[in-house]
């Protein structure tokens, strides 16, 4: 047979191989210039390939992107990130214990959701993916609500219809998460277009994984955002992996994901996703740009999926076991903690105390949540709910089917 000449992206470290992140293009902290918020896309091309970083290795905030947040704000950010992590750990264990059917952790990516959410205003509309629980937490959605969703129980805001992790909150301006990746991207652009049409000030932001950026919806979103200069922030969370395929299989081998932005005439910014300050600063820049009529921004958040894809996944089958420990951008919680300690605004003791407090918060919330039922125990959602909300009003065929379903149940 002739030898194939097809190029296949190289996956850096498969099981049994040594972790290797030499492919990553990094910039030193503080090295990337911060253009004016109103800069023209063509003048800020490098932003899409360099890496905006604020926290240096020592834990100091350096360079023009330093957002100069006050300590209280940083402490809140740390708290949200830590709560996200503790929540994740606990829910993972609950899944393993058979209490919930499925779970998705965001381990190592907490800064993305938390810092971005904090850089936006509460009325901005967020269109998350399934790995953005930090948005829910930073927006202050009660943990019990999230847990009830995970449990599909009697207080589940989705009324039992969605897989765990597919949260939503109308009051929290958090859009309903879809099981189909990327679909929320053009929807966020449409939302932002409507805000502009109505002359309102709010912007939309959306998130997807680098793997999901391969979907058509990514393209639609960039295109519509560019054409109508919609006030939207489009975020690609490049955590290096999409289930078993490396980011090269989404095109990351050739070029950064942020670089797609300038290709469409949209500002593109590549940022250290594990650097709370850098993520915050870049998001704030993009938000101000959007609010002042400067149009959309595509942000690539460079991070690492430290855990499995989901509870249905086993990454030891496809990547080096100790990969995460070699990730050159560190851990977002550790880095912000070190910075706060260096500022004299935090300590190991306070950290411990916070951890304990949040542990208890999560535990107490879980106790409350399970009281509203689990999939297998306790109070149950009314099965009639299956037939509601298909349409605003239930049509005749569904009323009939509801009756049939009731008869089936009573026949058992």
């Amino acid at each position: 047979m002739v030898r194939s000449r097809l190029h296949l992206p190289r996956s850096p470290a498969r099981p049994g191989e040594a972790p290797d992140f030499s492919y990553l293009e990094l910039s030193p902290a503080g090295a990337v210039a911060r253009p004016q918020v109103g800069a023209r896309v063509r003048d800020i091309g490098p932003l899409a390939v360099e890496l905006v970083r604020v926290l240096d290795d020592a834990g100091d905030a350096v360079g023009p992107w330093n957002p100069h947040l006050d300590a209280a704000e940083l402490q809140i950010g740390l708290r949200h990130m830590l709560l996200t992590r503790i929540f994740d750990e606990r829910m993972q264990r609950n899944q393993r214990a058979g209490k919930i059917t499925f779970y998705v952790r965001s381990l190592g990516e907490e800064a993305v959701s938390v810092a971005q959410c904090m850089a936006l205003s509460p009325r901005d509309m967020l269109f998350p993916s399934y790995r953005n629980q930090g948005l829910q937490i930073a927006r202050g959605i009660p943990l019990v609500n999230l847990m009830c969703q995970l449990l599909s129980n009697t207080r589940d805001p989705c009324k039992g219809r969605q897989l765990p992790a597919m949260y939503h909150s109308a009051a929290g301006h958090l859009f309903s998460i879809s099981g189909n990746v990327a679909t929320q991207f053009p929807q966020a652009v449409g939302w932002a277009m409507a805000a502009a049409i109505k002359g309102e000030d709010h912007l939309a932001a959306s998130w997807l994984g680098e793997g999901s950026s391969a979907e058509a919806d990514f393209h639609y979103a960039l295109l519509f955002a560019a054409v109508y200069q919609a006030p939207v922030i489009l975020n690609v969370v490049n955590n290096q992996w999409a289930i078993s395929t490396f980011q090269g299989y989404a095109g990351g081998e050739q070029r950064s994901f942020a670089a797609r932005g300038p290709g469409y005439g949209i500002a593109g910014v590549r940022v250290d996703g594990n650097d709370f300050l850098a993520v915050h600063a870049v998001t704030q820049w993009a938000a101000e740009r959007a609010r002042t009529g400067g149009g959309p921004t595509l942000i690539e958040l460079v991070t690492y999926r430290a855990a499995a894809h989901s509870t249905s996944d086993d990454p030891s089958r496809y990547r080096a076991k100790d990969d995460a420990e070699h990730w050159p951008l560190g851990d977002p919680i550790e880095r912000l903690k070190r910075h706060l300690i260096r500022l004299g605004e935090w300590s190991e003791e306070r950290h411990h105390a916070l951890s304990a407090e949040l542990d208890e918060l999560v535990a107490a919330s879980w106790r409350e949540a399970v009281a509203y039922g689990t999939l297998n125990d306790g109070p149950k959602l009314d099965t009639d709910l299956m037939f509601e909300d298909v349409f605003k009003e239930m049509p005749a065929n569904l009323q009939l089917q509801r009756a049939m379903m009731r008869a089936e149940k009573s026949s058992r």
Partner: protein, 338 residues
């Protein structure tokens, strides 16, 4: 009352809704400055502005995705897909998102989007300008599916669709834009001005979804149909001198099962007709329902007259189209044994 063809009636519906409800916006390929390739939105951008009647990129998936987001943010988008044949790039956003948003969010988020799209053949458009894909959408829980057959209903149904808080896929049989069509391409075209359903009130009115129209009452046979086939059915039944009851469904979801079944229970015989491909077309669902509900009244098997199980070929348009001969054969079979 005014005389309108179907294009004018649809235009009037959108005009009225743009005027009444500031949240209504139109969007689609070439619908703005140009007024649409079938001129359905003519004059509306001039009247309501570029920000209410938007030209869009040629990206049906983007159009639907953006429309969903706009609807979530309080607008009421009416999106045009230039031809139903081009709705498939938007299929995922329609099926996975638009149809299920209310359900998955327990009603906390909804997207009252109307998608208008011209369907059907008869204009020598070949396989990519002639399709009738309505059946697929009827299989998707959460979508309403409408197809008018005349200007009066088109306007009333479109207003209803736009006002409806559920997503509606609104099919416009393009062969009927300018006049009723009985399936004979060799006859001179008949304009709507000579047809009673070409009389259209100028103001706001609605035609409800889920209410079929008994186009002709009759005792011998029920013909259940919609869209262009309404006229073919009338002509075929007339040519056979049959006292047929002809039912124009107008909306497929919700479906007026009562109208269908009372008719068949009365006549005992049933033909279902549509232009779409027969195999797994909506006629199958109607036949299935009718035999479920009217089994003991049926005097002969329900017959289906439909497009063949092939693409819609350019050169054989009239051999593909289920014209009067196809209807007549189905009717004759449904009348056996006499």
């Amino acid at each position: 009352m005014a005389q309108m063809n179907m294009v004018q009636a649809l235009n009037s519906a959108m005009d009225i809704m743009l005027g009444r409800d500031p949240s209504v916006v139109l969007m689609g390929e070439d619908i703005g400055y140009f007024g649409g390739v079938f001129r359905t939105t003519e004059g509306l951008q001039r009247k309501y502005g570029e920000h209410r009647v938007l030209d869009t990129p040629i990206a049906e998936g983007g159009i639907v995705g953006a429309a969903i987001g706009m609807a979530v943010n309080g607008l009421r988008p009416v999106a045009e897909i230039q031809f139903a044949d081009y709705i498939y790039p938007g299929f995922d956003q329609i099926v996975s998102e638009l149809a299920r948003l209310r359900y998955r969010s327990a009603g906390d988020f909804t997207a009252p989007v109307t998608i208008r799209t011209p369907c059907g053949g008869g204009i020598r458009g070949g396989q990519t300008h002639s399709q009738s894909p309505e059946a697929m959408f009827t299989h998707v829980s959460g979508l309403k599916v409408v197809m008018p057959s005349n200007p009066h209903d088109a306007k009333g149904l479109l207003i209803t669709a736009i006002e409806d808080d559920d997503p509606v896929i609104f099919f416009e049989p393009k062969r009927l834009y300018n006049g009723p069509f009985d399936g004979d391409p060799n006859k001179p075209a008949v304009p709507w001005s000579t047809h009673p359903k070409g009389e259209v009130p100028e103001g706001h009115y609605t035609v409800p979804l889920g209410r079929a129209d008994i186009v002709r009452a009759g005792a011998q046979l029920s013909i259940i149909t919609y869209g262009t086939m309404v006229y073919v059915a009338q002509a075929a039944a007339a040519a056979l001198e049959l006292d047929a009851e002809i039912i124009d469904l107008r909306s497929l979801v919700p479906l007026d099962v009562d109208a269908i079944c009372s008719s068949v229970k009365k006549t005992g015989r049933c033909v279902v007709a549509h232009e779409a491909t027969r195999l797994s077309g909506f006629g199958a669902e109607i036949a299935a329902i009718v035999q479920e509900e009217c089994f003991w009244h049926l005097e002969a098997p329900i017959q289906r007259a439909a497009g063949w199980d092939t693409p819609y070929p350019h050169a054989f348009e009239w051999e593909y189209f289920p014209g009067q001969a196809r209807l007549a054969a189905a009717i004759r079979a449904a009348m056996e044994p006499a």
